[in-house]
């Protein structure tokens, strides 16, 4: 639409009621009804009627909580978690006499845990609030009662206010554009914050209001807007303006949305229509879909197991308790008279033993509640946030050129990164830079441009290397990436080298007139806006797409410098054909026939200085060639030849053509076109298309442009690494099949040893059918053809199963449609998962999402989708993990992603290093968490068994409540945040290590249950060793005996030592942090004992002086600790030492190699054992797939 307004052809003047009444009724007839009831009194917000409507103010609050509801709401959020709810119930019941320990000691850790989470929520919300405050207090000029514009704050804006916005300011609310600094009431806006598109969009005011450009003219300005109610549709608006006694329909063209920015326009006037939360952008704000990682889902199951264990042991306990209690009175005799069973409460009443047993069951649930790690959720959350910080801070994933670090937008999926089985990748902008470079062109049948593309180089290399195997492809790549043009400084977007054309030499070429026309088309036929730097006179362009920018730049570099665009004209500095001097030429811009994905072409109609009417057109070959006139096909054969070559070289091609129009032809066409353009209905696009179609024909071919979308740096290496890690990579692209295959080769997705399976509908019989035009026959034939091809592919794969041949599957969009139908879906998937890489070309965004879903659901494995554009959003949200590339194509993909990185190659580090680490850390952390709580919980149970299951805990209340919070939590967090099995460098060096996550080796049920069993064993060792060695005899020289308290302290000491040392044993990465936390926790236990014991009796109760007076002076205490701790660690240590040596896991092997210090050897040749292991892993991989 940009620039589409001729001076004389004012959009709104053409609008009459008579012509469009029916349509008007149609669309706008709903006004005043439900959903379309908003009434805005322009420039009259104090109107009593307006006040009555009570529209919301412009105050915006994006916070989750307010000061008032923070406590209840966040508490509610907290207790939606089952575990937390359990603990709350426990805390409540603990105030009753059922509780085995004091209520405070239960409540304190719960409060702490909840408090921590709430604090986190609070801080996050506070940040949001600060942003809100900033936004709410921005200044804006509002037309006041005194008839001048006064400054006010955003939050004070009301519906109906008249505001003035200056250049580069944000719009404070959704505004109706009344007029701008331009005469015809247009303005440019940037909608970066809305949809991420960086290009400028044109808005124009109604003609009736466009003249209101003077402050004085507003004095009597009164009008009414009736429009739709607030909604979230960014791309529609229905309303009318009642002004000057007439109704004027309004469309999105007059609406300026909040959070977009005024550009290239000095100022505008507007009326506030939607304020605050009614604005479209605020209505649009939704939370991204929440995804949960597999690990967490399994963790829930473990929690259920623990809950069942808890219930089981509580039941056992209460049964024994019931029996014991019942026996307290037998035949009227008091048995355990010291308990006074004759004079008791219901909880211990022998006469109501079953009731007592039931209550005891509740007590047991509380007592053994330590089996459920209260702090697990919180710890995991903390750990994940810290992990995300590390991901965000990683210098190796920071892209300096755009100043973009990696960003974990959610911290819930960190460990999922370590389990990715299939990557689904977009091509443009993801594998490639999406910064186009003009490298070649073919004009009048002559190919120009000597540059060599990366794909060509890859192809050449492939040919070259075929005889002698080249092992390492990375060594000679840096040289390939050297794109610097030899002469002069490199120009971004321009890599065209051909002395025949550059420096004005084209004048001497045979078809110089065509060359001139060719570059004129490039310089004129576009929608870019020039930006002239005042100081240097340099011109840069803001274009809608990078292709377009490349064309304009190419034209500039070759002497057709586009330097000015007005609403009605385009001006060039042109090299004069004869004189060789630069002259200014101006073209009157009559119409822009815009690009759309359906049309696949764009045209402009201009009138040049000689009053010639020209239609300049560029578009995709498929639509352009059929539109050439008979005379225009002069170079068709040669051009097509070049075009195919370019496509093979992985270049994006566009055909350039033009035609001359006669005045009469233009006039008659325009009569048809203008109504179509100004119509306001759903059919508008179709009407415009039809009109355009009428004039975009009989074109004369000029040539073909070829633009290279360079592969991003490091993409081939990255893909190579990822596939070595056993990750399957699917590329879903909109490109042509040839381009896609070539790109596949260039980025080592398809390798030379690979057998390619191509599924396509591009076969002779089907094209025959297409010519006949029988749609059903085509459908049927296509389906059969696809089914057959899939069947063949399957047979092929089965046939070669035993050999080491890998397959690459290439399928095009049409075929994909059929392959994704219900009947073929499963067999297609079967073929696809057996291929190392899959390329789907010509696929639409919807297909991308469908394929993603198919893979996710069909294989049940973790999928990762990576993309950069709005067309990838569906895919990103569908996949288990969505990774957005924060590249050129705006922010939309990033906004809907879970992780954002700046370059594809960072994916390698994100997955192989961070993913692997996070996976390992979280799984270890969870296993360990259960271990430590089971160890602790079961000592309580064993003690119960010796206390007639009465529910008396073995330890002092506060020891217990601090267990999860102080004595054992920090080392786990350190484990979760800092542990590494192998360093980042080795992770990258041995990509196969990644399979540990994909196959979920570290979180198998076997492993989880082993850890739990280890916990049970530890608890048994602790309890039975201690009780047997210490209990009856004196434990000190002075003849003193162990009482309840000393036993508790001794056991507890052992537990603290054991779980912390177990931690030290199970990690093998000690920085000062680990040392500090692990040994610090143990030291803290002793410190706590001393301090707590020294507190007045009222506080310390039974723990008073127990360590200083009783335990510490006893050598027995220390000896027993040593014995028990070593014994508890022994099973695990023995297992580990034998396992690492004789049945090592992959990371063990790598660790060993590292410690043996034979780095050079590792890289040179893998030792036999490692090789075997790798083969074994590969084997497993294959088995798994089949």
């Amino acid at each position: 639409m940009r620039g589409g307004m001729g001076k004389g052809i004012h959009f709104s003047k053409l609008y009459t009621f008579s012509c469009f009444r029916s349509k008007f009724e149609d669309e706008h007839g709903q006004l005043g009804q439900r959903g379309y009831s908003r009434i805005v009194f322009c420039n009259d917000p104090d109107n009593p009627e307006a006040v009555q409507l009570k529209y919301r103010g412009n105050y915006v609050s994006t916070t989750k909580y307010t000061a008032l509801n923070f406590i209840p709401k966040s508490l509610f959020e907290q207790f939606r978690r089952v575990a937390n709810l359990y603990f709350l119930v426990v805390a409540c019941v603990s105030f009753s006499p059922l509780a085995p320990y004091t209520a405070v000691s239960v409540l304190a850790p719960l409060l702490m845990v909840i408090g921590a989470t709430m604090a986190k929520e609070g801080v996050e919300d506070w940040r949001r609030r600060k942003q809100d405050i900033e936004a709410n207090n921005r200044k804006v000029e509002v037309y006041g009662k005194n008839h001048v514009f006064n400054e006010t704050r955003w939050k004070n804006l009301r519906v109906g206010d008249l505001v003035k916005i200056y250049k580069d300011e944000y719009f404070p609310a959704d505004l109706l554009l009344l007029s701008s600094s331009y005469e015809d009431g247009i303005c440019y806006v940037e909608t970066m914050n809305l949809d991420g598109e960086t290009n400028l969009k044109l808005k124009h005011a109604l003609d009736e209001t466009a003249s209101l450009r003077d402050v004085r003219s507003f004095q009597n300005f009164k009008s009414t807007i009736k429009c739709e109610d607030p909604n979230e549709h960014l791309y529609s608006f229905v309303g009318t303006l009642y002004y000057g006694g007439q109704h004027h329909p309004l469309s999105l063209q007059q609406i300026l949305l909040r959070d977009s920015k005024l550009r290239n326009t000095d100022y505008i006037y507007g009326v506030v229509v939607f304020t605050g939360h009614d604005t479209k952008v605020m209505q649009n704000a939704t939370d991204p879909p929440s995804k949960r990682s597999r690990i967490e889902r399994r963790m829930d199951k473990i929690i259920y197991i623990l809950f069942s264990t808890l219930i089981l042991i509580s039941l056992t306990g209460s049964m024994f308790f019931g029996v014991d209690t019942k026996n307290d009175i037998r035949g009227g005799e008091l048995k355990r008279w010291y308990l006074r069973p004759d004079k008791t409460t219901v909880f211990f009443d022998p006469k109501r033993a079953s009731l007592a047993a039931f209550f005891h069951f509740l007590t047991g649930l509380m007592l053994y509640g330590y089996l459920i790690p209260i702090s697990l959720y919180v710890s995991i959350e903390v750990v994940k946030v810290l992990q995300s910080i590390f991901i965000n801070q990683d210098r190796d994933m920071y892209y300096e050129e755009t100043d973009k670090p990696a960003r974990a937008r959610t911290s819930d999926l960190n460990e999922e990164l370590g389990q990715v089985d299939t990557i689904l990748s977009d091509k443009t902008g993801t594998l490639t830079c999406n910064s186009m470079e003009f490298v070649k062109c073919s004009i009048a049948g002559v190919a120009y441009g000597r540059g060599m593309t990366e794909v060509e180089r890859a192809l050449a290399k492939r040919k070259r290397s075929r005889p002698h195997e080249v092992t390492d492809s990375s060594s000679d790549l840096p040289e390939c990436n050297d794109h610097v043009v030899d002469s002069g400084k490199p120009v971004k977007g321009f890599n065209f080298r051909d002395e025949r054309v550059t420096n004005g030499n084209w004048v001497n070429e045979p078809h110089s007139d065509l060359i001139q026309k060719f570059f004129r088309v490039l310089a004129i036929c576009h929608t870019a806006i020039p930006d002239v730097r005042k100081e240097s006179g340099e011109i840069s362009y803001e274009a809608e797409s990078p292709d377009e920018a490349a064309f304009v730049i190419a034209a500039r570099e070759l002497g057709f410098e586009f330097f000015e665009r007005t609403q009605t004209s385009i001006s060039l500095h042109e090299l004069d054909h004869e004189s060789g001097r630069k002259v200014n030429r101006s073209y009157t811009l009559l119409h822009v026939l815009e690009f759309s994905s359906a049309r696949k072409r764009m045209s402009v109609i201009v009138k040049n200085a000689e009053n010639q009417l020209l239609l300049l057109c560029k578009g995709a070959d498929s639509v352009m060639f059929e539109r050439l006139s008979k005379d225009g096909r002069l170079f068709l054969a040669k051009t097509m030849d070049h075009l195919n070559k370019y496509a093979e070289a992985g270049l994006r091609t566009l055909v350039v053509a033009y035609r001359e129009l006669s005045e009469q032809e233009y006039k008659s066409w325009e009569e048809e076109f203008l109504p179509a353009k100004t119509s306001v209905s759903a059919a508008r696009d179709a009407l415009i298309d039809a009109a355009c179609d009428k004039i975009e024909r009989d074109l004369i071919l000029l040539g073909v442009t070829a633009v290279e979308d360079k592969l991003q740096k490091g993409v081939p290496e990255c893909i190579d690494k990822l596939s070595k890690a056993g990750i399957k990579i699917w590329v879903l692209t909109g490109d042509k099949m040839e381009t896609a295959i070539n790109i596949g080769h260039a980025c080592s997705l398809l390798t030379k040893g690979m057998k390619q399976i191509v599924i396509t509908l591009d076969s002779p019989d089907i094209s025959d059918l297409e010519k006949q035009g029988d749609k059903e026959a085509i459908q049927k034939a296509s389906r059969e053809s696809i089914a057959k091809q899939i069947g063949e592919a399957k047979a092929q794969i089965i046939a070669r199963k035993e050999s080491s041949v890998t397959f690459g599957l290439i399928i095009d969009g049409m075929s994909l449609d059929f392959a994704l139908t219900k009947s073929l879906e499963s067999s297609f998937l079967e073929v696809a998962v057996n291929c190392a890489s899959v390329i789907c070309c010509r696929s639409s965004p919807k297909q991308k999402a469908r394929v993603t879903k198919l893979v996710k659901v069909g294989t049940g494995k973790t999928t990762l989708a990576i993309g950069d554009g709005a067309n990838d959003v569906g895919m990103l949200q569908e996949a288990d993990i969505g990774v957005g590339i924060s590249g050129v194509e705006g922010m939309q993909a990033v906004m809907s992603s879970d992780f954002a990185i700046a370059q594809f190659r960072f994916l390698e580090r994100l997955l192989l290093v961070h993913g692997h680490w996070c996976y390992r850390r979280i799984t270890m952390m969870i296993c360990y968490f259960f271990y430590k709580n089971i160890t602790f919980g079961f000592t309580l149970f064993w003690f119960e068994a010796h206390a007639s299951f009465s529910g008396q805990p073995a330890y002092n209340d506060w020891y217990m409540s601090f267990y999860n919070v102080f004595f054992t939590s920090l080392p786990v967090i350190a484990l979760g945040v800092f542990d590494q099995d192998v360093s980042a460098r080795l992770c990258l060096k041995h990509p196969l290590l990644y399979q540990e996550g994909v196959q979920n080796i570290l979180f198998t049920w076997h492993r989880i249950l082993s850890w739990m069993l280890n916990g049970v064993i530890s608890s048994m060792i602790i309890f039975f060793f201690i009780t047997n060695s210490i209990v009856n005899q004196a434990f000190r020289r002075d003849g003193h005996l162990v009482d309840y308290e000393v036993l508790g302290v001794t056991m507890y000491t052992c537990v603290v030592w054991a779980v912390n040392c177990q931690m030290a044993l199970s990690i093998n990465y000690f920085t000062w942090i680990q040392h500090f936390f692990i040994w610090g926790s143990i030291a803290f236990w002793y410190t706590f004992l001393v301090i707590y014991g020294a507190l007045p009796l009222k506080v310390s109760t039974t723990a008073y002086q127990v360590f200083v007076e009783a335990c510490a002076p006893s050598p027995f205490y220390w000896l027993a600790t040593l014995l028990v701790v070593v014994s508890t660690l022994l099973p695990y240590f023995a297992y580990r030492s034998f396992q690492t040596r004789f049945k090592p896991m992959y990371h063990d092997i790598i660790q060993r190699r590292r410690s043996e210090g034979s780095e050079a050897e590792v890289s040179a040749e893998l030792p036999v054992r490692v090789k075997e292991k790798i083969d074994h892993l590969k084997e497993r991989l294959k088995h798994r797939e089949s």
């Binding site: 008791t344 590390f390 005899q1033 000190r1036 030492s1137």
Partner: protein, 319 residues
């Protein structure tokens, strides 16, 4: 920085064969001497244990008669026992009155009583006390935790609660060669109990004054801070079989020295079938007599050495 890149200098130990063997051997060679030392220390302790609950009454007699007897405060419960060590238990004979000390016992010789099947760690029992009341006179009315032994009539009981109420009240009197051995009952309680937990201004009140009489009575004129038997008793035991310190004999007992002990067998453990034992024991640096620790040390050390050998063998045969 190196921190954010997660490249902090780190110690990355891994389980190389060298380390594994070294650790196993190290544990082995430190544990075995420790085990031997503690076993030796434990062996040096001389301990005489005598179960007297069945000896002082003939268990064959009718159970209900027995209970009547023990419940009756007026019945004579004096019981005379000879003490022998387990080593000589074959020789022990109730009727022959051979009192023998197996080995020379150096002073101090600790006197313990041991109760079996007595759940001092029962939740109802453990909680039934009032620390505030014990600590100072001001807390006299703090008896809400003491149910069901809180009040006698309307007056609060001091010390209240089940623990105090069930105070152990057997007494022992020792004599050797017809000469009475004095039993030192000072300093049998923890120092902190005497100084902080039990107040010197708190005197027993209304204790065991009516209703069912549980265990022993207290002298109402002595403050709690000097009632060491009560303090010992109120340090509840961890397990259902437990010993408590009764007193000390501060003279050496020679080997084969005959000792006569006169027991006032007052305490009723017959209701719940609990054993009662009298224990005389010396101590060493490790405490009393218990071989478990030493043996456990020896076993763990032995297992480690065994594992080390296994590991070496496997390493040789299956490198």
């Amino acid at each position: 920085s190196r921190f954010t890149q997660q490249e902090l200098p780190a110690w990355k130990p891994i389980l190389t064969p060298g380390w594994v063997i070294a650790v196993f051997v190290l544990i082995g060679i430190t544990f075995i001497p420790i085990g031997l030392a503690s076993l030796f220390a434990s062996e040096r302790v001389v301990e005489i244990v005598d179960r007297y609950d069945d000896g002082c009454f003939f268990l064959n007699t009718n159970q209900s008669l027995l209970l009547d007897y023990i419940r009756n405060p007026k019945s004579n419960k004096t019981c005379t026992r000879s003490l022998t060590s387990p080593l000589f238990s074959v020789l022990s004979n109730l009727t022959t009155f051979i009192f023998q000390v197996p080995k020379k016992m150096r002073s101090p010789i600790y006197i313990y009583y041991q109760l079996g099947n007595f759940y001092q760690n029962h939740r109802r029992y453990v909680k039934s006390r009032s620390d505030k009341q014990l600590r100072s006179r001001k807390g006299e009315d703090e008896i809400k935790d003491c149910q069901p032994i809180a009040r006698s009539g309307e007056k609060p009981i001091v010390p209240c609660g089940l623990i105090a109420w069930s105070l152990f009240n057997d007494t022992y009197a020792f004599s050797s060669k017809n000469k009475a051995l004095t039993v030192d009952k000072k300093d049998i309680a923890w120092k902190s109990d005497k100084e902080h937990k039990f107040g010197s201004d708190v005197y027993p009140k209304n204790f065991q004054s009516d209703g069912l009489i549980g265990g022993g009575k207290l002298n109402h004129s002595i403050p709690l801070s000097e009632q060491e038997d009560l303090m010992v008793w109120m340090r509840t035991a961890a397990l259902p079989t437990f010993r408590k310190l009764y007193g000390k004999i501060t003279v050496d007992l020679e080997a084969n020295e005959a000792i006569t002990v006169v027991i006032q067998n007052n305490y009723n453990t017959y209701e719940f079938g609990g054993e009662k034992k009298l224990v005389l024991s010396t101590t060493s640096w490790i405490g009393g007599k218990n071989n478990f620790l030493g043996i456990a040390y020896l076993c763990v050390g032995g297992i480690c050495l065994f594992l080390a050998i296994n590991f070496i063998l496997m390493y040789i045969f299956r490198p």
